[in-house]
């Protein structure tokens, strides 16, 4: 059947199983929007800024495991996607971004709303395409979804000139994909797997260090099997939150700059570190030379380039985390490490975080309250970036994969609100909780309109410390308290929410907080924002200052 390129595109999106798209129209995508007009099977969510579309697609992808799709027009629409693409790229999130482009004969002429979108996004996408020949469209769309979702996932951008969208072409669905240079390795090398199993068998103080790759590959169940069968404690990264149930006695919580005391101690003491789908980021390792000084290291990753990039492992294994772990588990006998657990228990006894007394709300109390009142629900927690993100990571435990969405690698303030829109659209029956900050929320506040428009009952908690708190903390610790430009003068955020048509509540005490949480949970037809006025100068602890070793934690 012959139809317009834009219609072919929409048919192919349906074939790929796309149920919803986040986007913003404009001149260079008119044909696509015209085709969507006749396509009730695909729900289009109109955001208020293209960056929001990319983050929403990202939040959708992280919480559903499907590919997120966003659309923007050429020029400014496409450039507005950039931060969202970079965020998804750093965290290996599968997104397909569709952008309009000027007519092919106008490319390179500085035409109206022309930008070199594929050039701009080259370093922040897994791959991108500029379709100059309409007949290539079916192949490109198929490849885009395949590349985004296979191997190490990531964002893929497809740039579509107007004439490509308009040309009449044959609707074909390419069954075969032929990309000669792209063959991800899923199966681990048998010899390496054997070595890993032996190393685990010999270790006295083994430790699992798990990252976002465990979630991407769906390896949580087999990870659980491995940890429990071989009695190995687990530390996770910010991206690995939810990969292993945090309530389980083997979970030591998050490691790294704001990790738990015992997680970091365990890293410094273990004799075998099993890194799974994690990439030894500087926020995790602290000073690299002193990271896990007594450990042999097994590194399992689907991306060969991650292996040896920061740390040279003794046993590298390239492959899919789920498949590799399954092979390792098969080769293991059940075992226990009571002495190792006793050492860990000792660290837990010797340090309990102390919080000062305050008339004001303390941030960890707020998160704990939110947790207490929502833990019986099926929840997804989304965060923005800053101190509140770390408090959420520390105080809101996660039990299952894909119930946590936070910008880890890029640390993008403004990620939270649009990502929670994507999460709620993709999970209409779950309770989506956004923990944001008074700085971050204003980076993408316009998306509150979107949440109201689509009646999304997101529970938004703003940890309002009237500061760019995380930066203030660094200024406090590392720049002798010279708080340069980090004090925020905010409007009444609850009233801002009300003006957008959301529920808005301002709280300063525990009782008010409790009532506000109840109110937010009751609200089912629109978002509810709770502006929590917290102690202004609270620091996130423990804190491993940049460049310091993990056992040089500042504890109070």
């Amino acid at each position: 059947m012959r139809m317009k390129g834009a219609q072919v595109l929409v048919e192919l999106l349906k074939k790929e199983g796309v149920e919803c798209i986040f986007g913003y129209p404009g001149g260079a995508v008119l044909d696509i929007y015209d085709a969507l007009f006749d396509t009730p099977e695909i729900r289009h969510i109109l955001v208020r800024h293209e960056q929001g579309a990319a983050h929403a697609a990202d939040g959708y992808a992280r919480t559903t495991g499907k590919v997120g799709v966003c659309i923007a027009t050429s020029g400014p629409g496409a450039t507005n996607l950039v931060t969202g693409l970079a965020t998804a790229y750093m965290d290996s999130i599968p997104i397909v971004a569709l952008t309009g482009q000027v007519f092919t004969h106008l490319i390179g002429k500085d035409s109206f709303q022309e930008a070199d979108t594929t050039g701009i996004t080259m370093p922040i996408t897994k791959h991108n395409f500029l379709v100059t020949n309409a007949e290539d469209l079916p192949h490109v769309i198929r490849e885009a979804f395949y590349i985004a979702s296979s191997g190490r996932p990531g964002p893929v951008l497809v740039d579509l000139p107007r004439d490509v969208q308009q040309k009449m072409i044959e609707l074909v669905y390419p069954e075969k994909i032929k990309i000669p240079g792209y063959r991800p390795t899923y199966k681990g090398h048998a010899k390496q797997i054997k070595l890993a199993a032996e190393a685990i068998g010999e270790a006295k103080r083994p430790l699992l260090y798990v990252g976002g790759g465990v979630i991407a590959s769906g390896a949580s169940e087999v990870l659980f099997e491995l940890a429990t069968k071989a009695d190995i404690p687990v530390v996770h990264t910010l991206m690995g939150k939810g990969a292993f149930p945090e309530s389980h006695p083997l979970s030591l919580g998050m490691l790294g700059m704001h990790g738990t005391y015992w997680a970091n101690k365990a890293v410094m003491r273990c004799d075998l570190l099993i890194a799974v789908g994690a990439r030894f980021d500087d926020r995790v390792t602290g000073k690299l030379d002193t990271f896990a000084p007594h450990a042999r290291i097994i590194h399992i990753d689907i991306d060969p380039a991650e292996i040896g990039k920061n740390v040279k492992p003794h046993i590298p294994i390239v492959g899919d985390a789920r498949m590799v772990l399954a092979e390792i588990v098969k080769r293991l006998e059940p075992m226990t490490h009571p002495e190792w657990h006793e050492e860990i228990a000792q660290w837990k006894r010797e340090y309990t975080p102390k919080y000062r007394e305050s008339k004001k709300l303390l941030p960890h109390q707020v998160i704990e309250r939110i947790y207490e009142k929502t833990k019986h629900l099926d929840t997804i927690v989304v965060t923005d970036v800053g101190q509140h993100q770390m408090w959420a990571a520390q105080k809101y435990p996660r039990e299952k994969p894909r119930t946590w969405a936070s910008s880890g690698g890029l640390g993008t303030m403004g990620y939270g609100l649009p990502a929670s829109i994507g999460a709620q659209v993709g999970n209409p029956d779950k309770t989506v909780i956004l923990i944001s900050g008074d700085g971050s929320i204003f980076m993408k506040i316009q998306e509150l309109v979107t949440a109201v428009n689509y009646c999304l009952p997101i529970k938004i908690f703003v940890m309002n410390n009237e500061f760019l708190g995380m930066v203030r903390q660094w200024q406090g610790c590392l720049y002798r308290g010279r708080y340069s430009c980090t004090r925020l003068v905010n409007p009444d955020i609850a009233r801002v929410a009300q003006a957008f048509g959301a529920v808005g509540i301002s709280v300063t005490t525990k009782d008010e907080l409790d009532r506000a949480i109840d109110e937010a949970l009751k609200t089912q037809d629109r978002p509810a924002l709770v502006d929590c006025h917290i102690e202004e100068e609270e620091n996130v602890l423990p804190f491993v200052p940049p460049g310091k070793s993990l056992d040089e934690m500042i504890l109070e």
Partner: protein, 161 residues
Amino acid sequence: MEHIIAVLVENKPRVLARVASLFARRGYNIESLAVGPTQDPSISRITLVVTGNEHVLEQITKQLYKLIEVIKVGDFANTPVVDRELALIKVRAPSNLRGEIAQTAEIFRARIVDVDEESLIVEVTGTPDKIDALEQLLRKYGIIEMTRTGRIALARGSQSL
């Protein structure tokens, strides 16, 4: 350490930009670069000369493989190769010195490929050292301009990348 890397890529627009952008953003040094078609019209060959230790070289190779359009990366660290560069050198050549210049060129198996009243163009191929040496000798006559290609290389023997 200097390494020669050969990269087989799909012959598509922007592939060279992807490779160059990768080197720029990861902070790898390119000493020389040459691109051209292969016996298969759908595949181009990029030859890079890079500097770095073994660790850097390994990362470069792995990062190159991450580019979707990169099909094969060959590193010639432990392989005997034939490697060549081409230079065209335009040198001042008054009639009384031509013989001398021609003789110098001869020693390097270089050819004179253009002549006019005042100048000659000398074409020379070889390893970078050889070209450097000839350039050095021609300097005293006055080099008007010169251009050199990037290095290209093939492994000796019958196997291919």
